[in-house]
Symmetry: C2
Subunit: 157 residues, 2 copies
C-alpha cells in the first residue's frame, strides 16, 4: 500500500510538471477507487480562464462524471500539493475518504501562490476579511430553506 | 446602492427557491459588474452529479467565461447563503471584490447542510481531520514548483 501511494503521488507530481511545460499552473491530482486511477487532471485555471479549475476540483468533477454520482465515498485523492481551502471544501462535499499530498501550503506560498493566506482569511469573521463579506437582512431570506424542507422531491447531498 | 443590493440579493434567493422546485439544492447566486448581472446560477450538485457545482462556483465559472478571464476584480457576488469554505476559496482565487449574502452557515446547518462543520474542519491540523490528510515525503516533491519558477511562459494567477 505504501509503495502504491508513492507511485500514485509521483504521478500527480508528474502531471503538475507536464502542465507547466504547456503554460499551466504547477499542480496535478488523480483519484483512485479500489487502487485504480479513475480520473486525473492538472490545474486548468490559465488554459480554461477558470479560477475554480484547480487540479483537485477538476479531478473531482471528472471522477464524479465517471462514477455518475456526487458521492465519492471510498475514493482516494492524490495531489501534488496540500489542497487549498477551496479544494479542501470540494473534498468534504464529495465525501472522498482519504487525501495524500506532497508539497504543503508553505511550499505553495514560496512558489507565489496564496494558499497559506487563504487559510488565514477563512478563519476571520466575515466582516474582517480583505474582501468585504456583507450579511444583508431581507424579508425573504431563508424562504429557500423552507421550500427545501417541504420539498417531496429533494435528494440530500 | 443599498436598494440595488436588496433587489439583486432577492434575485439570488429567488433562484434558490426556483431550483428547489426542480429538485435542486436551495442555493442561488449571481455576479454583477458595474451594477449589471453578468452571470447567475443555482446549485447544480444534484442535476449535474457534481459535488463542486455550488451556486457560487457555477456562477464564478460562468462569469469567467463571459469576461474571458480568470480575474473577476471589480465584480460583486450576491449569494442566497454565506459561501462555504469551497466557495469562499473560489471567491478569493477569482479576486471578486465584494460578497453580499443573506442566510448564514448556521441557517444552512439547520437546513441539513455541513457548511458550519466544514468551517470547523478546515482549521484543524491536516492529520486531525475527520478525513485523513496524509503528507507523504517524495524525492520529486517540489520539482513542479522549480519548473514553474524557471518557466518563461508562465502566467501568474
Amino acid at each position: 500500500m505504501k509503495n502504491h501511494d508513492h507511485e500514485l503521488l509521483s504521478r500527480a507530481i508528474q502531471l503538475a510538471r507536464e502542465n507547466v511545460k504547456e503554460g499551466g499552473g504547477p499542480f496535478g491530482a488523480l483519484i483512485t477507487l479500489d487502487g485504480k486511477i479513475i480520473a486525473e487532471s492538472a490545474n486548468q485555471v490559465i488554459q480554461n480562464n477558470d479560477p475554480t479549475a484547480h487540479a483537485e476540483v477538476e479531478t473531482i468533477r471528472r471522477a464524479s462524471k465517471v462514477l455518475n454520482t456526487f458521492d465519492l465515498t471510498g475514493c482516494t485523492l492524490y495531489t501534488s500539493c496540500e489542497p487549498c481551502p477551496m479544494c479542501l471544501g470540494a473534498v468534504y462535499w464529495s465525501r472522498i475518504s482519504r487525501v495524500v499530498y506532497a508539497s504543503n501550503r508553505e511550499d505553495a506560498a514560496r512558489a507565489g501562490f496564496r494558499d497559506a493566506e487563504l487559510y488565514q482569511e477563512i478563519i476571520l469573521d466575515p466582516d474582517k476579511r480583505s474582501i468585504p463579506f456583507v450579511n444583508l437582512g431581507l424579508p425573504d431570506a431563508g424562504s429557500e430553506f423552507e421550500a427545501w424542507d417541504q420539498s417531496e422531491i429533494r435528494k440530500d447531498y
